[in-house]
């Protein structure tokens, strides 16, 4: 066992690292109310004007709308693909089964710019015009793995005997799926869906490569940060995005592992 001093040292270091994780978020929080356009420390005065300016920005509102549309479609498509892939891997033996999860994780495991460029060059070659749809396709591609991981983890934890029991009691494949499989998967699907939504809503590396003239919220924030004059408005939007993104993630964490909170985040 570790000595007492070592324990105290680790405790202090752990606290400092946690502080490191949260101080920048607090800075975003504080500067959203900063009265001045300059980001000097300490802030001179407090104001709420950036929030109303942000809301009056029609580009911002359009970007927000686009981001929500993209995230909804990408989540829906990846739910479908992720579930199907998870079922196939869980229920069947087939050639290449071991490499399915490897291939699915590639879009996020490879450096983001590689996935972005690969999809862009493929779409460019086939003559597709870049639009919200191309962004949705890109997002769905890297969201699949999130759903797949959640669903397959749940499938592995469920015993096969309840499926057999359902079949023995005379249910056909559909009924078993509808009344037995789906309910056991429900929370995993919601959790995976929330994470996929959060992942898509926030994405910029792939989005930049696959979009035409359309704005998404991350693109809007990116442009606003590049113009120092617009930074305070970007900051107000950033604060709202943080609050909005933390809510689904918090619930996803609770839903994914209801019985053992210790396994959160795996």
């Amino acid at each position: 066992m570790e000595s007492r001093t070592a324990r105290i040292a680790i405790r202090v270091a752990a606290g400092l690292v946690l502080a490191f994780l949260y101080i920048p978020l607090l800075v975003v929080f504080l500067y959203a109310f900063n009265d001045s356009v300059a980001q000097d420390w300490p802030p001179k005065g407090l104001t709420l004007k950036w929030f109303s300016l942000a809301w009056d920005d029609t580009n911002m509102r359009e970007a927000l709308g686009n981001s929500i549309k993209i995230a909804l479609v990408a989540t829906f498509v990846s739910l479908l693909l992720g579930c199907l892939a998870a079922f196939a891997v869980h229920r069947f033996r087939f050639f290449g089964r071991e490499s399915v999860s490897f291939v699915l994780v590639l879009p996020i495991a490879l450096p983001g710019i590689v996935t972005a460029m690969a999809l862009r060059s493929a779409m460019g070659t086939t003559g597709v015009t870049f639009s919200l749809w191309t962004i949705m396709i890109g997002h769905a591609t890297f969201c699949v793995v999130v759903i797949f991981n959640n669903v397959i983890a749940r499938l592995r934890r469920t015993t096969g005997s309840i499926i057999e029991a359902s079949m023995d009691l005379g249910a056909d494949g559909w009924q078993t799926f509808r009344y037995v499989t789906l309910p056991t998967l429900a929370t995993a699907l919601v959790a995976g869906g929330l994470l996929a939504f959060a992942l898509s809503f926030d994405e910029i590396i792939v989005t930049n490569f696959l979009s035409g003239a359309e704005l998404t919220l991350p693109k809007w924030i990116f442009n606003a940060i590049r113009l120092p004059r617009n930074r305070p408005v970007a900051n107000a939007v950033a604060l709202i995005v943080i609050v909005l993104s933390l809510i689904p993630v918090y619930f996803a964490q609770r839903l994914a592992n209801p019985s053992d909170p210790e396994r959160a985040g795996r």
């Binding site: 570790e2 994780l21 490879l110 450096p111 060059s121 994470l195 926030d202 590049r226 985040g265």
Partner: protein, 302 residues
């Protein structure tokens, strides 16, 4: 009434049963139906795109028409290798990515160790949620936070002045980029390190101390070797994410990374083959790192 509704319900039920029965007898058809769409999307479209990108790296752009010519050769790689600019960018990117991965492992360790081995279950759960929340919160917002922190006369500059550095102007330096990356990827490192530390049986630590091992010896001989799979997994995340990023170097610092050169070549310069060839560099570096980790036995404990 009851009979009527049954007779309406039955045939449909019959078809449904028929399909489901047919699928049970023909599992291959069932598998094809289930796996078909994901296989087409990820296996064909995505892997196909990757293959096309790879091929692009060996093609070239016609100077006059600025169209891509399918004229196979290694000229793009030659350009990357001989040009001093590209070499500098590569060394800078890989160097900072390595430093980010190393610092993140050092930062992640105490937090992961505290959560996995010292904290009570409730505190442990709270810490894990506290690590996961920033992991999922907006990437751009976190980057923006560092734009603010490293702004001229911002927080970091005033802190550094207290320590007697007169004109830090950290925002214009590569330190700002390094700090931002280290911050962004830290949660990705904490989680796998935590997972590997949690798996060490308590009896190993007791055995070490019973045999007279001091804290340091136990760390060096038991904890560290057993945490290697988590450390490797985490450092690959930090490494690979840094290699693939072009947003942070634009927003926080003023330096070009591999990602920025690729981005410029796809957009402004319109030289996709060169960009594709340069995109191979991070992939090859990550693959080499993985192979090295495997050789050193990093995955045997998994």
């Amino acid at each position: 009434m009851g009979d009527a509704s049954k007779s309406v319900g039955l045939p449909r039920r019959g078809i449904r049963r028929g399909i489901s029965g047919y699928l049970n007898v023909h599992p291959k058809v069932k598998l094809a139906l289930i796996l078909g769409i994901p296989l087409l999307w990820i296996g064909v479209v995505y892997l196909g795109s990757l293959g096309l990108l790879f091929a692009n790296g060996f093609w070239r752009v016609d100077v006059l028409t600025s169209k891509i010519v399918h004229d196979w050769g290694l000229r793009n790689f030659q350009t990357l290798w001989t040009s001093k600019v590209y070499r500098t960018v590569t060394i800078r990117t890989v160097g900072i990515a390595t430093a980010v991965a190393a610092v993140d492992v050092i930062l992640a360790f105490p937090l992961a160790f505290y959560a996995a081995r010292i904290a009570r279950p409730r505190v442990r759960a709270a810490i894990l949620v506290a690590v996961v929340l920033p992991l999922w919160s907006s990437y751009l917002v976190k980057t923006y936070a560092w734009v603010t922190i490293t702004a001229p006369n911002g927080i970091l500059d005033s802190v550094l002045r207290v320590f007697g550095i007169p004109n830090p102007d950290i925002g214009a330096s590569q330190w700002a980029i390094f700090l931002t990356f280290a911050y962004l990827w830290l949660p990705f490192v904490v989680l796998p390190v935590y997972a590997s530390l949690e798996r060490i049986p308590e009896s190993y630590l007791e055995a070490s101390s019973d045999l007279g091992g001091k804290s340091w010896i136990t760390f060096r001989r038991v904890i560290w070797p057993m945490s290697i799979p988590g450390v490797v997994a985490g450092s690959i995340f930090a490494f690979s994410l840094t290699l693939g990023d072009y947003i942070v170097p634009i927003l926080v610092g003023n330096t070009k990374f591999i990602g920025n050169v690729i981005y410029d070549n796809v957009g402004v310069a319109n030289n996709l083959p060169l960009a594709a060839a340069f995109a191979m560099v991070p992939v090859i570096v990550v693959a080499a790192y993985l192979a090295l980790a495997k050789r050193l036995g990093a995955f045997e404990a998994l």
